[in-house]
């Protein structure tokens, strides 16, 4: 398979402008500037390219929802607030090939006929943000960013915004608040950001990996893109596996690659003497899949059919050496801390769940605790304000069911059965 997004990842340093151009960089921008934006939307629609930030919304549908008659100014925001535990693919794109990121913004900006672009980078990726800023300056000097890009008359400037932390700022409406200099609490929808986003103007927010595919589709076509995928997937995907495997890492592979190939062939399977017990397929806020699901193609529909979510497709593996309750505590600790505190079910419900889980793990659980936790899950997820709490609940609720026996064993024994076992 041809490496597309990661074609420059082997270089010791991210390519500068000359090196990027020598490899065909910014050729797609030239192609795009000579085409009708609506025709490019039709083209991307034929690929089934969906959002890789977690939600999986089809890109062309997002463009059509805003429409070509949206008022100006229009904003384009690239979301590089990757904070989903177990996901580290966006970091690679930002750090290893910043000009590819800029070309993606420019081509998308032209398709959207945007007036200004912001790249929203999490503060922990400040070095990546600096690399991107340097590349933007380089591109601006070469006439690729700013006014009259490549003599086309199209104008787009790019600002890199370095955020100041908090997972919730990756949620698109919280991101808009963060960019406007407000607390990163999510906004009520509707209005959707494409109607009223940044400063009340139409705004489209996209994940970095999603947009990096757009220039390749524009220059090479939808058939080429679709042919890169297998098992019902389209294009390529930056997959990653971490947690309890021999060789955690990331790989660009055909979309639709099975979990078995990712976990065993690429990540080496569970460490010696252990077995794979379960895995979260799409980052922390997805439901567990089991060894029986290993042949599931890792693409949106197949993962949904298996009962979980494709999410960011950062796989996290759990092995037989780790207590599943401890794993759930490790997951939930993150969501407890990162709740923005705006709505009560999330702010108070998640810590309550955590305290119950911690008691079970400490051998102080009581009969009925698991059922109580399931009841809390059922109440928190649908009654919270945004998608954060449903995301937090997904691994917990599925873990409480999948690991019911081991949780009940904790309660019956008054101790963690894994303690002292390793």
């Amino acid at each position: 398979m041809e490496r597309v997004l990661s074609r420059n990842f082997h270089l010791p340093q991210p390519p500068g402008l000359a090196e990027y151009r020598a490899g065909g960089g910014y050729d797609a921008l030239k192609v795009a500037l000579g085409q009708d934006p609506e025709a490019m939307i039709d083209l991307v629609d034929k690929t089934g390219l969906r959002g890789y930030g977690g939600a999986g919304f089809p890109l062309a549908r997002k463009w059509r929802a805003r429409g070509s008659d949206a008022p100006h100014p229009r904003y384009l925001v690239m979301n590089v607030d990757e904070t989903e535990p177990g996901s580290f693919k966006d970091r690679q794109l930002l750090y290893r090939d910043p000009h590819q990121v800029i070309e993606a913004v420019l081509v998308t900006g032209f398709i959207e006929q945007a007036d200004h672009a912001y790249v929203f980078v999490r503060g922990e990726y400040s070095e990546g943000a600096r690399r991107l800023e340097r590349a933007v300056d380089e591109a601006r000097e070469a006439g690729l960013v700013g006014s009259n890009i490549l003599g086309s008359g199209f104008k787009l400037d790019i600002d890199v915004h370095v955020s100041a932390g908090r997972y919730i700022c990756g949620e698109e409406t919280a991101l808009l608040n963060a960019l406007e200099g407000r607390r990163g609490n999510p906004r009520a929808k509707p209005p959707m950001p494409f109607e009223k986003g940044l400063w009340g103007a139409p705004t489209l927010v996209h994940n970095i990996e999603t947009l990096c595919h757009v220039p390749y589709i524009v220059s090479r076509g939808s058939e080429w893109f679709n042919a890169q995928g297998i098992n019902g997937g389209h294009g390529t995907k930056l997959y990653s596996v971490c947690g309890e495997v021999k060789r955690p890492g990331f790989w660009e592979l055909p979309m639709g690659t099975t979990a078995r190939e990712l976990i065993y062939d690429h990540a080496g399977g569970a460490p010696d003497g252990r077995e794979l017990v379960a895995f979260l397929p799409g980052g922390a806020s997805t439901a567990f899949l089991l060894p029986e699901h290993l042949d599931t193609p890792m693409q949106f529909d197949a993962v949904a059919a298996a009962g979980s979510r494709f999410g960011t497709c950062g796989i996290i593996a759990l092995s037989s050496a780790t207590c599943p309750v401890d794993f759930l505590l490790g997951i939930n600790k993150f969501f407890v801390r990162e709740s923005c505190g705006f709505c009560t079910p999330c702010r108070d419900g998640l810590p309550y769940l955590h305290s119950l889980l911690a008691r079970v793990e400490a051998g102080q659980g009581k009969p009925g605790n698991r059922e109580l936790m399931l009841e809390l899950c059922a109440k928190i997820a649908p009654n919270s304000f945004c998608a954060f709490a449903p995301g937090a609940i997904m691994p917990l609720e599925s873990g409480l069911k999948v690991f019911a026996d081991v949780i009940e064993e904790h309660i019956a024994r008054g101790a963690c059965p894994y303690r002292g076992a390793h």
Partner: protein, 159 residues
Amino acid sequence: MLTDHERSHLAEHIARYPEKRAGAIYTLQFLQQKYSYLPDEALAEARDLCGLSVTQLDELATFYSLLLRRPVGRTLVRICDSIACHLAGAPALLAEAQRLTGSPLGGISHDGSVTVMPHVCLGLCDQAPAALAGEREVGRLDQDSLGELLASLKTGAEG
């Protein structure tokens, strides 16, 4: 106090946005870089630049996890404790860090060299357990390499 040059740099950055307050995060980050945290005086300096009250700025400073309202050691070490790092031993590293610095998480070590804090996923899951020492990424930590890291910060070799 901000110098005239710093003030004009900030004003120029803020002017790029349609509204002044959008420059508040950058301004607070800039002030934190200067003072190592955000004392009340820093918020007062940001007030006029951003067109916000000190209370509104405090709302921001207390929301964003990378903005600090309390003093910290010379280097801030953020040890990731999200799931991949949790599985790879982050809880034990956080306990060891407290033992080595003689200070609770978030506190300043006795010699003033370091503050250690737990932090959310740093996107270094393939190098778990990982940390940021200042802005430097450190992966595959264990008790020994954590000890070496903290010792190097004492002598000012890092920062």
